[in-house]
């Protein structure tokens, strides 16, 4: 298993190098002079020339790539063009907010998705199951940003229970977490349902029932535990979805995380800040996938490693 883990670690190195290259290259194709574009039309020629030198735009792409990688290793992602702050500071300010939001959204999706999936499986084709299916279908079809606005209309404007946006208290977290978690509820609940259904047909479940165990024990001790394995994989995939959804949710609720930072930097044409933010976001996604893969290897001893 150690062998597998090392291989999996080594395999993510080219991916990381590639991600950095893609981030650099996409901004390479920006038409015109990026330095002039970033400073806007009122910039002096001198300022543009200075920025070109600081960004190293006069050097070839490969040289800048290596320099950027060297900076990345030292935790130096350059300075934002607008605020003149180190990008890494901006990221350090925003990242915890996104982490917090994603964590609670994930909790929401687990706390609702797992029980509803179990009930759907145990009471197959019941009213609850059909209703849950309908709601998940709708949940997967609704755009995240629209869910957010809808919740604001109902729970902030019509019934002022929660704030429209901003951050500070736990109340500020409620609507954004639900907004972001809703599509994942649908997926997790469906996955738990089919997984539990499959396990309920297994021999050892029949044995457990034959022993005269209470149905509750059969389901929670025997079935659910084993049913969680495929669910774990889906959860890993859901984290990527959550991170993308966070970009939208943060912009709906004015949540000061990475998504807001990214969109702000796009509108400010602050490519240095954008590169840094996207890079940190993508790299943390690579890391999360790595952790999910490794934990999957730990949890399921049946998987063989070549």
């Amino acid at each position: 298993m150690l062998n597998y883990m090392i291989r999996r670690l080594v395999m993510s190195i080219p991916v990381i190098l590639g991600v950095v290259l893609v981030v650099m290259f996409t901004l390479e194709v920006v038409p015109g002079d990026p330095a002039a574009l970033m400073l806007g039309e009122f910039a002096t020629e001198e300022a543009v020339r200075e920025l070109r030198t600081t960004l190293g735009l006069d050097k070839p792409l490969m040289v800048r790539y290596v320099n950027y990688l060297a900076g990345l290793v030292r935790g130096d992602l350059g300075r934002s063009v607008r605020e003149r702050r180190p990008v890494i500071r901006e990221v350090a300010d925003a990242f915890p907010f996104t982490l917090k939001l994603s964590f609670w959204a994930f909790m929401v999706s687990l706390l609702v998705g797992v029980p509803s999936g179990v009930i759907s499986a145990v009471r197959k084709y019941s009213i609850f199951d059909n209703l849950a299916r309908l709601i998940s279908l709708l949940g997967l079809s609704m755009p995240v940003f629209w869910i957010g606005l809808f919740l604001i209309i109902i729970f902030s404007l019509r019934y002022p229970l929660f704030p429209v946006g901003g951050h500070g208290t736990w109340k500020h977290l409620v609507l954004p977490s639900i907004t972001l978690g809703l599509p994942s509820i649908a997926i997790i609940s469906r996955m738990v349902r089919s997984s539990v259904l499959e396990i309920l047909g297994e021999d050892y479940v029949r044995t457990a029932r034959a022993k005269g165990l209470a149905e509750r024990v059969v389901i929670y001790k025997h079935a659910l535990r084993n049913a969680m394995l495929p669910v774990l994989t889906v959860m890993g995939l859901q984290i990527g979805q959550l991170m993308g959804g966070a970009v939208l949710t943060e912009n709906v609720f004015g949540w000061p995380g990475m998504g807001r930072l990214m969109v702000r930097s796009i509108f400010n044409r602050d490519f240095v800040l954008l590169q840094g933010t996207v890079l940190v976001f993508a790299l943390s996604f690579v890391l999360v996938n790595l952790i999910v893969d490794l934990s999957y290897a730990v949890v399921d001893p049946r998987v063989t490693y070549k």
Binding site: V15, S141, L149, I153, V247, L248, F271
Partner: protein
């Protein structure tokens, strides 16, 4: 959809085909949700195509005295913040959504077909390189790559299409590659190779027809996601640019009036939801009809 037996020299298969397709239609029609999906997709496509005929007003016509009027007051679905007819804008907005959806599917599927087939047929180092490239693109969480591309190319319908297409391409590459690997050692491929068919001919004539079904199913489900991504980019102001009607843009433009005129934001959201739901149901239905074993 011509499926597996469309190999040369099996002339008698034509009748077999017809019953095959009939069975397919029958299986599909028995699935109520799939039929609902089909009707939704058909209705939305027709509405988008015939938008100029169906729309009661010019979607760009501003009527400021009637701005933010509620549904039923002056217009069937009310007016937006510039007094433009929301119903007409919804109909034309469907054009943006479907246009980006279909074109980005074309981009993603073409990349997927070429790279997936090459990867599956060539194997070895070519396969490794293509798969690593795939991993790199997949390493970007949903929306992020699209944000980068749109920033680089400048916001427009074209860059949205490219962004959504490139974002979707890796999953098509994986799909096609998996299908090719599953097929490449089958007898009929060996037979084709034995009679001296060129690789390109084998790919187009023998491999492609055999996974056209899964490609169409996957493409239908991709349309649902493409519509969501287009809406998301437009919502952020990075996709379709005003005054062109786009559902995501319409949701965003109503944000400042949630209290006085919530319909400006909510109605286009419902349009997005119906379109996405339609493609999702249709895709699920096609998958079940093509591969009955998968049904639970």
């Amino acid at each position: 959809m011509r499926l597996s037996s469309k190999t040369r020299g099996l002339g008698a298969s034509e009748s077999v085909h017809r019953t095959g397709i009939q069975q397919l239609v029958q299986r599909f029609a028995r699935n109520q949700l799939a039929v609902v999906g089909f009707i939704l997709v058909l209705a939305i496509s027709l509405a988008a195509v015939f938008a100029p005929v169906l729309a009661p007003h010019d979607p760009l016509d501003q009527n400021l005295p009637l701005k933010r009027s509620l549904p039923g007051q002056h217009f069937v679905l009310g007016a937006d913040e510039f007094g433009r007819d929301i119903l007409s804008r919804l109909l034309f907005g469907g054009r943006s959504a479907l246009l980006v959806g279909v074109l980005s599917f074309a981009v993603a599927a073409s990349i997927g077909l070429v790279l997936g087939m090459v990867s599956g047929v060539a194997a070895g180092i070519v396969d490794d390189v293509i798969m690593r490239l795939n991993d790199i693109v997949l390493a970007f969480p949903y929306l992020l790559l699209a944000l980068l591309i749109v920033t680089a190319l400048g916001p427009s319908v074209l860059s949205t299409t490219i962004a959504v297409g490139l974002w979707g391409a890796p999953s098509f590459v994986r799909l096609v590659r998996a299908e090719v690997i599953a097929l490449r050692n089958r007898e009929f491929i060996e037979a084709a190779r034995a009679v001296g068919a060129r690789s390109s001919a084998i790919m187009v004539r023998h491999l492609l027809p055999n996974f056209a079904g899964s490609l169409i199913t996957f493409g239908t489900l991709f349309m649902a996601r493409a519509i969501l991504v287009e809406a998301a980019l437009s919502f952020l102001g990075l996709g379709v640019q005003p005054p062109t009607p786009s559902w995501g843009l319409m949701v965003s433009s109503g944000r400042d009036f949630l209290r006085v005129a919530p319909h400006i934001s909510t109605l286009p959201g419902i349009a997005i939801m119906l379109a996405v739901l339609g493609f999702n149901l249709l895709g699920d239905g096609l998958r079940d009809a093509l591969d009955p074993k998968l049904r639970n």
